[in-house]
């Protein structure tokens, strides 16, 4: 990917937002190598500690951590690229949980980070958290806890939590975690905004992962329709197949545009832009609807072979669906956007679209007819 370059006086009008090209090159090589050497897909997906170690050696597992806390000081643009490339390789590593969410929470709370593998969750008032990805593999679990309107972050060692092992649609660990409420109460107080931001950061991290996986699917689909012959010609010559492929690629591109815009806004404002809720919602909505088209279309184009365990396709389509329902369902996000749009109303809808801001947020239920 080329570095930003400006022609004319366009540079003062618009700023391209692209990740560090060196980083992208290193990661592209690493994941290409991983993809070439990994074992045949299985229905159950476990943490790849060897891959995790390689990423750690490159500073990738602490990419977004401040350098003072032992991180690489990377921003969200680079982090989103990392998440996307890892997802495209279906790499079973908790980059989002450990660094982008967990590492950030620890820093926000002023807690030390020893670099040991972490995951994150939001336990309920009884101390239980559902669907905690990679919990069984973590040395500590970072818990964000809301307790009588106060928000706390606790970094709880694995030996102090109870784990009921479960798996998500993708076959990944997605465990039920039970904390001792005392451990949560002993957490560090954090500002109220951290609670909201956690949800947004989680949603955007998931969007970046899903888009990365969809882009890999586009490649798989293109290769397939060129190589696979039916009725005496490559199936990519059939107009119906071309249209399916065009739709898959177009929806992926739209999801990419929405995600990149939210990432750029997050990076430019360090998440302080009040339009982040809208920007993340746009990404989550477009990514979620694109997922329906891409998952359905890619399986349809690939046919029966794409439904087998040994094929790469499901290592992407299953995580796509598993992740789109995390940090808010597609329906939840569309409802949030509806609330924002209705509240903006006729005269400020366009302002909302371009800046993410309009009138103050209010509960839409009071407006139900």
């Amino acid at each position: 990917m080329a570095a930003p370059h400006d022609v004319h006086d366009a540079g003062r009008l618009a700023a391209p937002t692209t990740p560090d090209p060196d980083l992208v090159e290193v990661l592209t090589d690493l994941f290409a190598d991983y993809r070439d050497t990994r074992p045949t897909p299985t229905a159950v997906v476990d943490l790849d500690r060897e891959l995790w170690q390689r990423l750690e050696d490159l500073g990738m597992t602490r990419l977004t951590g401040s350098e003072s806390s032992g991180g690489s000081g990377g921003g969200w643009v680079d982090a989103a690229a990392l998440l996307g490339l890892a997802a495209a390789a279906a790499a079973p590593v908790p980059l989002a949980e450990h660094d982008v969410l967990g590492g950030w929470l620890l820093e926000a709370a002023g807690l030390p980070n020893d670099g040991g593998l972490r995951t994150v969750c939001r336990p309920d008032p009884s101390g239980v958290a559902l669907n905690v990805t990679w919990a069984r593999d973590a040395s500590r679990v970072v818990a964000l806890w809301e307790d009588r309107d106060e928000w706390r972050v606790a970094d709880v060692p694995a030996d102090r939590i109870g784990i009921e092992e479960r798996r998500n649609l993708a076959g990944e660990p997605s465990d039920t975690v039970e904390f001792d409420v005392d451990d949560l109460e002993a957490g560090m107080l954090v500002p109220h905004e951290i609670g909201e931001q956690f949800h947004l950061r989680g949603a955007l991290a998931r969007s970046a992962q899903v888009v990365g996986a969809m882009e890999r699917i586009v490649e798989i689909v293109l290769t397939h329709v060129r190589e696979r012959h039916q009725f005496g010609r490559p199936i990519g010559r059939f107009q119906a197949v071309q249209h399916l492929v065009a739709d898959i690629a177009s929806e992926t591109a739209l999801a990419r545009a929405a995600t990149d815009a939210a990432v750029a806004r997050a990076a430019a404002s360090d998440w302080q832009d009040p339009g982040m809720l809208f920007a993340v919602g746009v990404a989550k909505s477009c990514v979620g609807h694109a997922a329906s088209v891409v998952v359905r279309g890619s399986h349809q184009v690939l046919g029966a072979i794409g439904t087998t365990l040994e094929h790469e396709l499901h290592t992407l389509t299953k995580p796509i669906l598993a992740r789109r329902s995390e940090y808010g369902s597609l329906h939840d996000w569309d409802e949030s956007l509806t609330t924002l749009a209705a509240s903006a109303g006729h005269d400020r809808l366009w302002t909302l679209v371009t800046t993410g801001r309009a009138k103050p947020f209010h509960d839409h239920r009071s407006h139900a007819p």
């Binding site: 958290a129 998500n168 349809q300 439904t307």
Partner: protein, 382 residues
């Protein structure tokens, strides 16, 4: 009024509803007794020979097979309502599905008297389990490209080749295999094919699992290495395999299993909305409406088949709309479901199974792209 793509509808009368309620009551008892756990796509994924035999005992198998062959001698309409009731409750019906839907009717139409006597009574009792061997590696939707070779030998034929996507072959007794009994003539690609009844325990047969993306084993690859098929196990006419295979497609494509594979998920979603575990959303009503309309349409096709009316195009319409809908239900519920929000074991189990099975819905039995071509042909466009 314009020429209708689908036959006019018909209203179910009390005699039929009585049968429906009888089956429903039996199934409710079975669920209550824990005999099976309702699930999605059970006509492919839930195999239970005991349950199948019990259906046979109750007269709900071999329904359109004449009584002289051990069947029930009843109507397609009666089979239709029994099938619907079995599917909506998510009963384990995979063991007899292929035999009941395709093998029985094919034997009745093309089989010798000896073949009918040999297989139909066992099928009707749910004791003889069949598979079907059509697809091959790389054949996809282009069935005429099958490469399994049938070589004439003393007293019969020797089959060599590989069939794929044979569901339940590892549990079945026999399967119908389509093979090339004469060299491919590029001008007449559909000529020279023959159907054979192959004993899956015969020497030369090797069955290997094809594991699905969810880790389940329903499909198989069946290798035939010079498997001897005696002359009396040729089905129908030598060289007429293509016509035989395609003549039964309306029966295969318009059945309720092309609509109801995810009904248990839809029902669970309705319950979850009522309980507040899923948000109330008008999409539920839209999907229920489509399922109801497809129920009427599928019934109308059955009524036409009962009257021996041509219904190939109508069957393609049911299959395209129905399989799309049963898949859309899975995706719809998935868009409502917020992971980590609350644990709803039943809904999650059904949803995940539906998502994993969904890709097959619009592929098996002819892809929706092929079938929309069939509809276009029915409309006179090709």
């Amino acid at each position: 009024m314009s020429a209708r793509l689908v036959p006019p509808g018909a209203r179910e009368l009390p005699a039929l509803t009585e049968l429906r309620l009888e089956v429903r009551a039996f199934l409710a008892e079975q669920v209550a007794a824990g005999a099976f756990v309702p699930h999605v796509d059970t006509w492919l994924t839930r195999w239970d020979r005991d349950f199948t035999r019990e259906l046979g005992r109750r007269g709900w198998l071999g329904m359109v097979i004449p009584t002289r062959y051990g069947g029930q001698g009843r109507t397609y309409l009666e089979r239709f309502v029994v099938t619907e009731e079995l599917l909506v409750v998510g009963a384990p019906v995979a063991a007899h599905w292929v035999a009941e839907r395709q093998i029985g009717p094919s034997l009745l139409r093309y089989g010798t008297e000896e073949q009918k006597q040999a297989y139909l009574p066992g099928i009707s009792r749910g004791e003889v389990v069949f598979g079907i061997g059509m697809s091959e590696p790389d054949s996809g939707s282009d069935l005429a490209s099958v490469r399994t070779r049938a070589e004439r030998v003393e007293g019969g034929w020797r089959l060599t080749g590989t069939k794929v996507w044979t569901s339940g072959a590892h549990e079945a007794d026999a399967f119908f295999a389509l093979a090339r009994s004469a060299p491919l003539d590029p001008e007449h690609r559909h000529a020279g094919l023959t159907q054979f009844i192959v004993d899956l325990r015969a020497p030369g047969v090797t069955i290997r699992p094809i594991v699905s993306m969810g880790g389940d084993h329903h499909f198989n690859e069946v290798h035939l290495e010079a498997v001897f098929i005696p002359d009396d196990r040729v089905l129908g006419e030598v060289g007429e395999g293509w016509a035989q295979v395609t003549s039964e497609l309306a029966y295969e494509r318009s059945g309720p299993e092309r609509v109801l594979s995810t009904f248990q998920l839809l029902a669970a979603a309705a319950q979850a909305m009522d309980d507040g575990r899923l948000p109330l959303d008008p999409g539920l009503g839209r999907h229920v409406a489509r399922v109801a309309a497809l129920h009427h349409m599928s019934f109308a096709v059955s009524a036409a088949l009962e009257k021996h009316e041509e219904a190939d195009t109508a069957a393609a319409v049911v299959k395209v709309l129905g399989t799309t809908e049963e898949g859309d239900i899975a995706d719809y519920v998935d868009t409502l479901n917020a992971t980590g929000w609350a644990l709803d074991e039943e809904l999650d189990t059904l949803l995940h199974a539906a998502i994993l099975q969904r890709p097959g819905f619009t592929l098996r039995g002819g892809t929706n792209e092929i079938l929309r071509g069939v509809i276009a042909r029915g409309l006179g466009l090709r």
